[in-house]
Amino acid sequence: MALYNFKKIMVVPTAKDFIDVTLSKTQRKTPTVVHKHYQIHRIRHFYMRKVKFTQQNYHDRLTQILADFPKLDDIHPFYADLMNVLYDKDHYKLALGQLNIAKNLIDNVAKDYVRLMKYGDSLYRCKQLKRAALGRMCTILKRQKSSLEYLEQVRQHLSRLPSIDPNTRTLLLCGYPNVGKSSFINKVTRADVDVQPYAFTTKSLFVGHMDYRYLRWQVVDTPGILDHPLEERNTIEMQAITALAHLRAAVLYVMDVSEQCGHTLQEQLELFNSIRPLFANKPLIIVANKCDVKKISELSEENQKIFADLSAEGIPVIETSTLTEEGVMQVKTEACDQLLAHRVNTKMKGKKVHDVLNRLHLAMPAKRDEKERPPFIPEGAMMRRKAMEVDAPKRKLERDLELELGDDYILDLQKYWDLMNEDEKRDKIPEVWEGHNIADFIDPGIMKVSVREIPAIRTQQLNLCARCPYICSANDVTSLYLILISLLTLVAVLGMRGPCTSFSFDSRTLSCFFSRICLARMRISCISSSSLSSSESYSPARSFSSSSFSSSSSFCEGREKNKHTFRGQSLKGRNTFDKCLIPLFLH
């Protein structure tokens, strides 16, 4: 797809710069010293080299320009048409053609003069010939000044075109100027299009992206179209028409119910009918915008009839207001659904579908007895799904608070602190207390905590994390593996905090954990080795390493063979299993 090449086009230099650069390059990159008394073939070679070098440079640069610029016949017709509208196809082709001619002329000049230089019998003659050759090449380029300028402008504009993918899912907004297309796209996507009260605020196509049903959608905003025949349309409107004509998208025709745009509903209907042929084969939705000012039901009889007619034809008419955001989501879902269905239908009618369909086969198991076996959905998932469908009242965010208070807002994170005494939340924490620096303070009492208590504290911490629902419900090998690694690293980190000699785990959590591992037939040895290697840096008790490793590996081997004995062991509480694992975790 030629899409992104638009940004990679080389800069087109001006004629003067081009000439200056090439000539100075010739002067720098070719040998500069030649004397009269050199042998004539050497003199000739010297000057021929200069001529050929200059020709080569010009040729290369011009070829690159010609190759970089997109050929209107090779790119997607949408882009070809858009470029025609913006840059005039004829002018564009002419400019490139001129450059091509210039390139050929330069080649011919170089060829001629190199041929002539073979008959040069003096330094003066060869030098004059070289001068003539370079001069002619530069004159040829001077004549291309206007083409080069034009191409530079085209390149700059081209690199700023919005990157619209013509083949993907797209929603196209069209309608009169000032009806609310840009505000719609601002609401639905992250695009930041100018919204102003004057007509033709949007002067070119804009793209925004949004997500729906886990797919990426493009929303294209067009400049407004007025109602006159195709020949009289100006460049800005033609861009919108081009987009309508070439993009296979869902069309959202935006109408202004309140007639604030300056055009009556009748006129809008006229425009709709005149561009109707462009909507063939495209899912169409009428968006009745600005309904916060005036609803359809408040309109006069004939205007209401317009909408009734349109919906009678099968085109959904949806009332929206981009100010109050009502109906915007509805339009979005409706348009996306319609477009998806349309695309699927088109694909089904095509030939490529059968390649895929032939390979798919949905196997339904035959019932073997009367017992019902419905799919199992855990409670938590059901609850969460229900919560998603119903718009549960979100808790008030800090951001909402900030927007509310405006200038008065002060960020106060202390209100979230969880202290025993609620009144103490806002108290100022002193920096120095009783001669101690609070930030660096370590209670001497903590050193005197008995050795027996530390493991209890640590296990409490670990159990809290091991008990979390993720680990309990983890069933497959990889997640267990990951959890084991994280646990081990956590243990190692915790183990670092101070001297510790022994540890006990709540054997129940460990047992259920490891039983699952055994059941999944995981190779603990490799895990332990990897964990050991990763945590090699922490080792208050490095002497344990070798012994622990060997013991753990043997233990693991043993354990894989007799899981039943292990189970029996675990129920006893603190036991040899724990003791063996301690050095492992100590590391």
Partner: protein, 242 residues
Amino acid sequence: DHHERKRKKESREAHERSHKAKKMIGLKAKLYHKQRHAEKIQMKKTIKMHEQRKTKQKNDDKTPEGAVPAYLLDREGQSRAKVLSNMIKQKRKEKAGKWEVPLPKVRAQGETEVLKVIRTGKRQKKAWKRMVTKVCFVGDGFTRKPPKYERFIRPTGLRFKKAHVTHPELKATFCLPILGVKKNPSSPLYTSLGVITKGTVIEVNVSELGLVTQGGKVIWGKYAQVTNNPENDGCINAVLLV
């Protein structure tokens, strides 16, 4: 933001330019200074033009041509001398009876310059062949003599068929095909060979220009004189004779 940055960049330009001008050396510097000098002259002219209103200047329109201050009124003036010298020049031209050509005198080209000796033979002793080193013109139906016998070699690379001819009054230049070499001022040998050097009178095909005689016939051949050294420039530049 963009406008602010642009304004600041423009104000810095003067400093950057002067820094560049001071630091540059070599050929680039020469070219740059030459260009800058031309720019400055233009700037000074425009400034002077703007200031014209403030200064008083001599008004040239009020004094008619040939007006002479009071103390010179009795003198006869120099106009007669001019007339005399013109008469003398006219007489000289009629005596010579030569054509009026743009380049009346041209440096004569010697044989060693125009013809190069080519040695041939088993021992490279024979030196009767000559190769033309200047640009030449050979007609359409030209075929070489058998190589063993040809004395003058006119290499293909030096054969030209077209000339860039300038019309002296219109000041326009056209690329016209050559019909033949009329006269080479250095030697009749060169004329017969078709050697084109500076000052050679050639005949060119002017049917492109669409000139018509008084009788209604279309002119299709005219003489032109070559004004450059074609072997140095790679092209033949000529001036149409009237």
